[in-house]
């Protein structure tokens, strides 16, 4: 018995070791990017490469925030993300509530079609979107980008919100109605506060998806001042022949760290969002 316990204990330690090894290997690209963003330019080119910076420097971050348009890109992305998320989650919340409480003809098919839209190749939708926004004279506007992103945020929000709304007992609404609320009052006084965790989850999650989006921004935005962060980094790595790797790494780290921070704070919520639609329950 004693040896058995010892063996379990030992295997636990070994597993931790193995897991950490796996983790370091898999996270190495991100660790490497972040560490490299603190290395001065000459050190980036030394052979053999240094792992930890020999001299730590903030010069790339200073350059990023004072001598490039990246502050603007961050602002653009934040703006587009916030509006697309608020509209997307708001519309989805009303819609999901309505579908779950009123038996419309075709409501079930409608939710199925939402899944179908989520599966369409974005590159397919990019063709008509380009054409539509072009003919309306709205290419190169953040508005067009916001509306285009609704095709991502709405299906996603629906899939995250549905289980939350459906799990709220009808007795709560019933009670509100008995107390004299109209249907709409029952919705925003009972349902909205009750599904707040789901609303927050879908908001955080769709924001991250929009923050990371690249293809639609690439197609709809050519004006340098209207770029999003992804587009800014993308053009840095595609258009410049000689990279200033320190700057690129700093931009990459700045685009990544906010997301990972948010994730670490609300890990459980994020995991539900990641698998929404893929696992039942």
């Amino acid at each position: 018995m004693k040896t058995l316990l010892r063996r379990i204990h030992a295997s636990g330690i070994n597993l931790t070791f193995v897991a950490f090894l796996v983790m370091v290997v898999l996270l190495f690209p991100l660790i490497w990017m972040t560490l490299s963003s603190f290395k001065p330019n000459p050190e980036l080119f030394t052979r053999p490469p240094t792992i930890l910076p020999r001299t730590w420097t903030m010069e790339h971050y200073v350059e990023l925030f004072w001598f490039t348009s990246f502050p603007r890109y961050f602002l653009n992305t934040f703006l587009v993300g916030a509006v697309a998320v608020v509209i997307g989650v708001g519309v989805s919340l009303c819609g999901v509530y309505s579908i779950s409480r009123f038996k419309f003809i075709g409501a079930k098919q409608f939710t199925f079609i939402m899944l179908f839209i989520y599966m369409l190749p974005p590159v397919l939708l990019s063709i008509p979107f380009f054409q539509i926004w072009y003919s309306m004279g709205m290419l190169n506007t953040l508005t067009s980008l916001i509306f285009t992103y609704l095709t991502i945020t709405v299906p996603f929000a629906i899939w995250v919100l549905r289980p939350y709304i459906e799990s709220i007992p009808r007795e709560l609404e019933e009670a509100a109605r008995v107390d004299g609320c109209t249907q709409f009052q029952a919705f925003y006084r009972v349902i909205v506060p009750q599904s707040l965790p789901g609303i927050v989850a879908s908001m955080i999650f769709t924001f991250v998806v929009v923050w990371n989006e690249y293809l639609y921004a690439l197609i709809l935005i050519t004006d340098e001042n209207l770029r999003t962060v992804s587009l800014g980094i993308g053009s840095l790595i595609l258009e410049t022949s000689v990279y200033s790797w320190g700057l690129v790494n700093a931009a990459g780290a700045m685009a990544t760290i906010p997301i990972l921070l948010v994730f670490s704070l609300v890990q459980k919520v994020m995991v539900t969002g990641l698998t929404a639609g893929a696992v039942k329950g």
Binding site: F45, S98, P121, L125, I127, Y214, G234, W245
Partner: protein
Amino acid sequence: MNDKSFIAGNKHVSRSRSSAVRGGAFRFSRRRDRMTGILLFLPLVALMVILSFYPVFRVFTLSLQEQGLFSQTSRFVGISNFIRIFQHEGFWRAFNNTLVFSFGGLALQTLLGLGIAMLLHARFPLRNSVRGSLLFSYLVPYVVAALTWRFMLSDATGVLNYAIRQMNLPMPASWFGSPQWAMPGVIFVNTWKNFPFMVLVFLATLQSISPELYQASAVDGATRWQAFRYITFPALVPALLIVGMLRTIWNYNNFEVVFLLTQGGPLGRTETFPLLIHRFVFGEFSMGRGAALAIVVLAILFAMSFVYWKLYETAQERLS
């Protein structure tokens, strides 16, 4: 509130109570409630019609027309766009590339995802923080994934590039410029980016298996392999088919990985369908051919999903 409305309110309550008893579920049958419901539903329908149904419809009409990227006039040309894309030298190459990229990525993601899910399913100290941080690569933007792999493999600065040279590995030090290694390279980066999704789903499935099953099989003298083969594996099959389908579709649709790493090169060795569509529309300015190819791509997507769905149904029948 005056007396009259109070009485009216009461009446209303009693009526709905009785309907609740009759119908088994609480329902207000008043027209105003239904109107509220419709009003709440309307914005969603409107948005989806404008932002999804219409664009999809537009792809179909565009595929039958000839229209330049920046022109407002179009000409109906029937199916000639479809004929032209099937005759295009890039079509079958892109077909092969897309299949290799989708299913190669699927296989690697499944293996890595399953292995790591089984590792994380075991108990060990600090398991939760390891679980959380292993999802990081799934959360970072595609541009960051492309950036860091390009950086690690770059000639002057890359750490991986240096390691490959030092160890004399039988591969080029910079994968994405090599015709033989570009495809494995993009599949590899795609796997690194997306395997955590598999981990999440497999972990959820593994946790749903009752531990008593394993205890019982151990009592009956089953080996670990037998326990995996007859307990773990059957439980994983339905999940495997569902996420397999999702991941195949997402790999198939993926534009960012290849575009940011190789832009379809070298010599078209990594040009997949999404890149070819992008090239038709934004490189050769032909909306019609791009749309036609998009329709073909969609048809193949449907065919694949249908096969997965049939497999899933058979698996469900066999296992239940």
